[in-house]
Symmetry: D2
Subunit: 281 residues, 4 copies
């Protein structure tokens, strides 16, 4: 594992010889492919690929690979295994996703650097301190979201943040913020079968007697909770479970699905194709 | 297992001494309780119970139990383990749920008697014949649902049917039919997270890149696909699965969830409380 | 939820009128049953029951209930909802189960009081301090287990501990300790299908190409890893997962199954019947 | 889907340029790669790959691909999407896996041709006839396995069988038979956590209070039930389930896992590497 690897994610219209040309280019530039996973979507004619390789020239290869892929008409993204993307976590008062994430980070589960926490409340500052994680308290006064978001953007840029994750951040981010932030934003929320509109979804699920509750992690986009889905899971419930049990089980789902989505993103396993993702697991 | 058992399902407002009074009544009438499962819903104050017992006097006990439960303000239903409810299955052309059901029946998995199949198409007559299952072909001409439904009702009454199950029956049953039929009707359909309106849901799920697909079995009521849920399950999918794979995986889910719901109903494990069910598993 | 409740767990030979007598006794002593779940094991003739009730006289009822149950030939255990059992957690260096447990405790997920951590290593003292959890470092020199165990027993008694949980404690507890401790001990370990003898089970599982890995929580008994099982779960793996991935997925399973087992125990949902448990979920 | 595709499964020592050379060869011989999935096992240095492509010359390509792969030091297997392997199913009296398989086959779920059933009992002849499946009754008298196996081999060769599947065939196949048959043999059996030696495993599982039961499909080899695992699954059970329930749930698992393994094999998704499989899902 010592040699630095590159990870490439490609998508574009399929054409004859694509796999061969891409693999050949890597080989001719002195590289060794470790893993490759490609998929042709029969319905759309789109080709998607994830490649992991040891480059011949680690400095030039990212650029050359991108150029050659673009020459083939592909959209492309390249990650380096020896660079760890900087991540900021937004949180409010609800601690479970945030704390779980920090512990996993300290356990070495993510290929990235957790740089700071940003919160509209001071509650989780002590926990952050115990794990040496810088904590920025940026209050959001009612009707003053724009000012807070300006502060967020300034901070994210100052820190060079490359990924934002929302660990149950209970403020709606504006479309302007999502446009301006220029880095992916991952959100987590509960999901139900059937779906429930309105507030207190766990109460509604309990009243409706649903047998499954779920959680969904997705990229945040302008159409709230409708961004491309990265990960989902469900758990089984019965009439013996109180609303409190549902909430607790929901927390466990959210922690697991949130971590799974962030890990997939940081491992360069998620390709966004329009409204959906391809996750190379 | 030789002695005939009774199964009682009760629901009503909770009050002190309810469990004791009910158990006592059974005991004083010479019965032996084998299983009992009761639950107090803290939010609604409703008490629900499932009891299974060997009665002292098997002829009189069902009546006496019902009367005593009603005296306590409970709604009650009693089943006898030695009587097998008569079941009719509706089917169209899609065979998987129907065939799976028939095979499970012949394997002895259900506590009931599969009396006949009713279909708007003749396609599955041969399969029925191979398993000695009477098959009634009742075509439904466009705009002539009422005539077909009249024939259905006549047949169901003539056969003394006590449960109707819809094994992917592709006609919408009218509210009039559901009012008139007077026996429970169990339906099976696919479910998605998020839900999709409109046709071709598997295509929509594929386009949206969902990571889970599901199936739901419920009692059919006047508000289509919104009746009380009996059973649900999901399965995991990836970008490697084609629409055809989704459809196949959906079939497996539907078969399993449909059988589970029918078994629970016939075992007297499903209590309908308003819009939801309590399933004593 | 304000009124204190009692929880009773009973087991013994079944006999006519058992459910009625027990429910009646509670009622006549002024109590109100909230939940009751009983089960007759057809193969062994054993009756098991979990009861939850608001007692008439909260001071005398535990004693009277136990006496009346014993008069019926039952083994019985009674818990009070307003007393929180004292719990000690043993841990070595591996942090995940321990940290997860502490966070869940602070979230209020368990009906018990986490009193102290006991470790043969000092590594997790800082984490404990951040959560105000007393941490006792009791080193175990090679061949000196008996001395350490004597210190353990003294500490457990001094603190009045009522449950010990082993959060990946990497020392084998002696049969003498398990005899002397007089309180239940819950352990967590990985499980495989097929099972692997010897060391490095994740490496063995990887070499054998298993498709599922699991975790099991059980009561520790003299026959190592063979005590009554409380909870189990599995997760799916593929050839794409490295040994490191298996270990990470194993951690997630262990955390979830360990917490589930401890919660079930503290909620008075686990009845030990010889070599097995009945878990009233 | 109209153009015939080839599927190649390769394994061998990894070396620089392998992916490029293989893809290049296909391209230069006029082929178009649709899917490719390769994996480098960091611990063994073994490279495995599954390729699906539209060949330039469908007659010559299988041969040329194999030759070029072997020149690169790879073991290789090639399947044609327009040839359907001939399959024989062995069965005894237990019908569930057999019937499920036949129905799935008629539903078009498998890429292969179900040619005949072979049984040591006549019981399932009628079911076979209803689905136009030739049924060969080859009794196995005690101590006369060798004669029956000779008959089996003769029949398999006469029919040109390319895969044998054991749908709960209750006779042990001899090592001599497994050596002589020269085609893969897929078996299905139940699995438990922990594993149980001896007979009546569902009774043992019930007595031990296990919380999960499972099923495993594997290639049959000389070391009984220890061949490379293709698919596994588990389901959750509680004390409320009787042995009969366990057996029924076991049947459902066996059907699902058996079908999944056979489908993976026939789709050319299973690569056997020593004692394990790689399943390209």
């Amino acid at each position: 594992m010592s040699a630095a690897r590159l990870i490439g994610l490609l998508q574009g219209p399929d054409r004859p010889g694509l796999v061969a040309r891409i693999a050949n280019g890597i080989f001719q530039r002195g590289g060794t492919i470790l893993h490759a996973d490609q998929h042709h979507d029969a319905e759309t004619g789109v080709f998607v690929q994830r490649l992991e390789w040891i480059p011949g020239d680690r400095e030039r290869e990212p650029h050359e690979f991108q150029r050659s892929a673009r020459d083939l008409g592909m959209e492309v993204r390249v990650l380096r295994s020896d660079s760890k993307p900087k991540v900021a976590v937004f949180v409010s008062k609800i601690p479970h996703c945030f704390q779980d994430l920090v512990l996993r980070w300290r356990q070495g589960e993510f290929h990235g650097e957790l740089v700071c926490a940003i919160s509209n409340h001071p509650d989780l500052a002590k926990f952050s301190a115990a794990f040496d994680l810088p904590f920025h308290h940026i209050p959001v006064a009612p009707g003053e979201n724009a000012a807070a978001e300006a502060a967020h953007l300034q901070l994210l840029r100052a820190e060079g943040i490359e990924l934002v994750v929302l660990a149950r951040y209970m403020q709606v981010l504006s479309g302007e913020f999502l446009d301006a932030v220029k880095v992916p934003v991952i959100n987590i929320h509960h999901s139900f079968l059937p779906a429930f509109a309105g507030g207190k979804p766990y109460h509604q699920a309990h009243q409706r007697g649903v047998k499954l509750i779920g959680a969904t992690a997705h990229y945040a986009t302008r159409d709230l909770d409708e961004g491309p889905i990265i990960a989902q899971d469900v758990t089984r419930i019965t009439h013996r479970h109180s609303v409190e049990d549902l909430v607790r089980k929901g927390r466990d789902l959210e922690k697991a699905v949130f971590a799974q989505a962030i890990r997939a993103h940081l491992d360069g396993r998620v390709l966004v194709c329009g409204k959906k993702t391809v996750v190379f697991d």
